[in-house]
């Protein structure tokens, strides 16, 4: 199953290394230029699903004793696959004139 928007953003944020919950919220905010903001509820329900699907795992606590999460090999494969799929979509949108040409 393809990841949801929130799940994809969390996976994308974890490509840079382990993060705790609030760190993930900040990263998602920055990655989407403030267009997509995760609340704690959406974030932790996404984390639960990603952990169950073994796309992320817990790394232990940081200095502030907060649980951190990291991407698994399977999670990396999923985020790369989804990025490829979205890239194809963008390419198709450009071809049909829905987006300005890249050149």
């Amino acid at each position: 199953m393809a990841p949801t928007r929130a799940e994809f953003h969390v996976l994308l944020a974890l490509l840079d290394g382990p993060r705790h919950g609030y760190g993930l919220m900040q990263d998602v905010d920055e990655l989407s230029s403030g267009e997509f903001q995760l609340g704690p509820g959406t974030l932790y329900t996404a984390i639960k699903r990603l952990r169950t699907s073994k796309l992320i795992s817990e790394t232990g606590a940081d200095a502030d004793r907060r649980r951190c999460y990291r991407l698994t090999k399977k999670g990396r494969a999923v985020v790369e696959e989804e990025a490829r799929r979205l890239n194809e979509l963008v390419r198709a949108a450009r071809k049909r004139g829905a987006l300005p040409s890249a050149s």
Partner: protein
């Protein structure tokens, strides 16, 4: 009431299992988010409340996906039973007079259809890591009594030799299954009540086994 206390109260909208696992972290994330607040208090709380309500609803729905697999299994089984009867009636010929489908293999076939369709539904609705034999058993067990109720007319006709004209008296046990014609609201309500009761009973049994 402080903002943290209010948020802790809102966390009760999630299941106990989820709250125990992530409640403290969510509270810490809320605390940080509030300190770094870039919105007016009203917009901040609108964001938080809508986030809690939508994600809690999703979390509860995720927990009920086994029920959706039961419903899909039920639809496939009832469709098969009534489909077989309709086909036989369509192609009926007096030559088949008195030819009845033996109850045991027919019941076993419907059971296989139910089990297989629940398994397919689980494959469609759950990612590989979440597919469990326990969920399959729960969904099948919940769908089975309701499938018997909804299939009763088709089963009756099959056991009568599928003759659409013939009227044969049935054993009392079989009559008990025939509540009434579909379209009768009280019958439909009874059937759904039967499903809800069996679902709750089986779930309670599984929960008690988990806590033992």
């Amino acid at each position: 009431m402080t903002a943290e206390r209010l948020y802790a109260a809102l966390l009760h909208l999630y299941s106990t299992e989820f709250r125990e696992e992530y409640g403290d972290e969510m509270l810490a994330a809320f605390h940080d988010l509030r300190r770094a607040r870039r919105r007016s208090p009203l917009r901040f709380w609108l964001f938080i409340v809508s986030d809690v309500v939508t994600s809690a609803a999703r979390e509860h729905l995720d927990g009920q996906r086994w029920l959706a697999t039961a419903l899909l299994g039920l639809a496939a089984t009832v469709g098969t039973a009534h489909g077989v009867t309709a086909l036989y009636q369509y192609f009926y010929h007096p030559y088949f007079e008195g030819t009845a489908i033996p109850a045991l293999p027919y019941g076993a076939t419907l059971g296989l259809v139910l089990g297989a369709s629940v398994a397919i539904a689980q494959w469609m609705l759950f990612p590989a890591a979440e597919r469990r034999a326990g969920r399959w058993a729960l969904a099948s067990a919940v769908a089975l009594p309701v499938a018997i109720l909804f299939c009763s007319t088709a089963i009756e006709q099959a056991l009568d030799g599928l003759n659409p004209v013939i009227q044969i008296h049935h054993p009392v046990a079989l009559d008990l299954l025939v509540i009434g014609p579909i379209g009768n609201w009280s019958a439909i309500a009874t059937q759904f009540a039967a499903m809800a009761t069996s679902a709750l009973l089986i779930r309670a049994l599984m929960e008690s086994r988990k806590t033992c």
